[in-house]
């Protein structure tokens, strides 16, 4: 897969994948003496569903945190939309069009589903502070427009019934869905999902897989996701990066990765001779 054309490729199911949107080059991240990520490079292409897999503690979440700016790597470069990115605060990176969800749901628990998703529109609302306070002019119009978009997402995710419910009261699976909604509300160019199916039962996993594929299909959103469930990953992703002990040990289409001896080793612990 390394000799892919720079303009993109066509997936087996006939979707057209574009050029490189995000590229990490030789990223190394240390916490004191502990090396979380060691010299990792890979790219994410426009329109792609890109998975990062690996055993616990492989550095997957750290990688996502580097991409969205929670962590700043000691070495390496992050390229986004064809330009090298400077060290930025996470909220500035969010403004560039990178949204995410978290492994341990990070919702605003006291707020309703609607308000949570509305918060996702934060970067889309630019009316001045005083206009906001008086709720007049641009601010009022903005509230209405953004509210409409949020309703669209609520319909899309089929969560109309819980619009006004404080999310702290929702069951786990629905919370995960609301969190996806909040990330989607930002109309991100790149959507990062940290274990979107962790702790779900089979049915919920199927629902979530469907939503991820639909988001990619209908909104054209590029998605990078971390997942433990190998079956799900292989089903929905176009290309997979495999990490182990902070290193990259495999990269390619699901079929390629599945057959890779190094990957089999990491997952099954079998020694080859």
């Amino acid at each position: 897969m390394n000799d892919m054309s720079p303009d993109g490729y066509t997936t087996p199911d006939g979707r057209q994948i574009g050029g490189v949107m995000m590229e990490v080059k030789n990223i190394t991240l240390r916490f004191g003496g502990v090396v979380a990520i060691k010299d990792i490079s890979f790219d994410i292409r426009e329109g792609e569903i890109r998975a990062i897999i690996g055993p616990n503690g492989a550095g997957k979440s750290s990688m996502l945190n580097v991409i969205n700016g929670f962590y700043h790597p000691q070495e390496g470069e992050v390229w986004f939309n064809g330009a090298k990115r400077k060290a930025m605060k996470p909220h500035a990176i969010a403004k560039q069009g990178i949204a995410r969800t978290f492994q341990n749901i990070a919702l605003f628990k006291g707020m309703s589903t609607l308000d949570n998703i509305m918060t996702g529109r934060f970067t889309k609302m630019n009316a001045g502070f005083w206009s906001q306070c008086l709720w007049k002019g641009k601010a009022e119009q903005e509230e209405i427009e953004n509210r409409e978009y949020v309703e669209k997402i609520i319909d899309f995710l089929e969560i109309q019934a819980i619009r006004k419910t404080p999310v702290g009261r929702l069951p786990y699976g629905l919370q995960k869905r609301v969190e996806l909604g909040r990330a989607l509300a930002a109309e991100p160019k790149l959507l990062l999902l940290d274990e979107p199916m962790a702790g779900m039962n089979v049915e919920e996993k199927e629902d979530m897989s469907r939503f991820i594929l639909d988001v990619n299909d209908e909104f054209g959103t590029t998605i990078a996701l971390i997942e433990h469930d190998m079956g799900v990953v292989m089903d929905i992703s176009d290309r997979v990066v495999v990490m182990d002990y902070g290193r990259k040990i495999g990269d390619g289409t699901p079929d390629v990765v599945r057959a890779d001896p190094a990957v089999i080793d990491a997952y099954l612990g079998v020694a080859h001779d």
């Binding site: 929670f70 995410r100 978290f102 919702l107 605003f108 308000d115 934060f122 909040r182």
Partner: protein
């Protein structure tokens, strides 16, 4: 109505109005606690500083006059002008916003992710620094604060209530300070607009988001620094209102900063995270301490129960309902 009942009613009404002022101070605490998890010990001193600044600007005091005179051997104290009350309030608001900005940029930013106790200690330091700074800037004399809010007993209320008493009883009408009525009206308006701001506007939503989960707030593009500056400015604004009310009532002096301590039991009652809790808690304590003093304190306990009533009530609440009346119950899984 009997005179006894009318007296009781008068005590309750005055308690209610005192309670409004407690609520105002408690509100400042809740705002900051909700948005940055900091228990801001300096809230009371902020009210004092705001009142000092307001009087200083209004009467045309030269800031740091003592310091300037000591260094240059001059004798300047006043510019010799008077600034209209509204303009002076506006300037005070600007000063408090500047103060918020400095607190966030110089202190909070460096303490991100620290234990709450560390942040709390930082605000204690801030409180004492501000107290000294305020005295240095505006001197420590007791000052009169007058922004044109009417004060004194209302004759109208007296005239009306005197007729309520039953025939032949010795009753001279109810004493209610007009200033207290104004304070109540202003506090209600302030609280209503703050609640609407938090509920329906984008910055308000961002504020609630930061309070709820700072990490998630960052990930949707909210800048923590901006929100913190906004919240500290709001708390500064609440401090100005509280400072004006208390200052007009009892003069601008050091004891004004101690009303912050009265806000503590209010918070225990109302819960640290609830705006409506701060209001109700303040009212309960205001009415409670006045009624207790009137019904039990003076006849049976020799009076002066107002000093400790609020704290004992808070203690009882801590034992039976630690999260307060409206606070979120914290359940930790084992």
């Amino acid at each position: 109505m009997s005179a006894d009942f009318l007296n009781l009613l008068e005590v309750a009404i005055n308690g209610l109005m005192a309670g409004v002022l407690y609520s105002l101070v408690a509100l400042g605490f809740v705002l900051i606690f909700k948005a940055s998890g900091v228990f801001n010990y300096a809230q009371g001193v902020m009210a004092l500083f705001a009142a000092q600044t307001l009087v200083g600007i209004q009467t045309g005091q030269v800031p740091f006059a003592h310091l300037i005179n000591a260094i240059f051997g001059t004798e300047v104290h006043y510019f010799g002008w008077n600034v209209p009350a509204l303009l002076a309030i506006l300037f005070t608001v600007l000063v408090m916003i500047l103060f918020a900005w400095i607190v966030v940029k110089v202190i909070l930013v460096r303490l991100v992710g620290q234990e709450p106790i560390i942040l709390f200690m930082a605000t204690i330091g801030l409180a004492y620094f501000m107290e000294g700074f305020g005295d240095m800037m505006w001197n420590s004399e007791v000052k009169r604060l007058d922004v044109g809010i009417p004060s004194g007993g209302s004759f109208w209320i007296e005239d009306v209530t005197v007729q309520w008493a039953a025939e032949g009883e010795r009753y001279f009408g109810m004493y209610v300070d007009v200033l207290d009525i104004w304070a109540t009206v202003i506090a209600v308006a302030l609280v209503a607009s703050l609640a609407a701001f938090a509920q329906y506007t984008k910055p308000g939503r961002a504020m609630r988001a930061v309070a709820d989960d700072p990490t998630a707030a960052l990930s949707v593009g909210i800048s923590l620094n901006k929100i913190w500056i906004m919240v500290w400015s709001l708390a500064g604004f609440v401090a100005i209102v509280a400072g004006i009310m208390w200052g007009a009532k009892s003069g601008v002096q050091f004891s004004l900063s101690l009303i912050a301590l009265k806000a503590l039991p209010v918070l225990m009652l109302g819960g640290f995270t609830s705006i409506s809790g701060a209001i109700v808690g303040g009212l309960i304590i205001g009415v409670g301490e006045k009624l207790f003093e009137y019904l039990i304190g003076v006849p049976f306990l020799g009076g002066a129960t107002e000093n400790w009533f609020a704290y004992v009530l808070a203690l009882i609440f801590l034992v039976f309902r630690p999260q307060g009346l409206f606070g979120e119950k914290i359940i930790e899984r084992v």
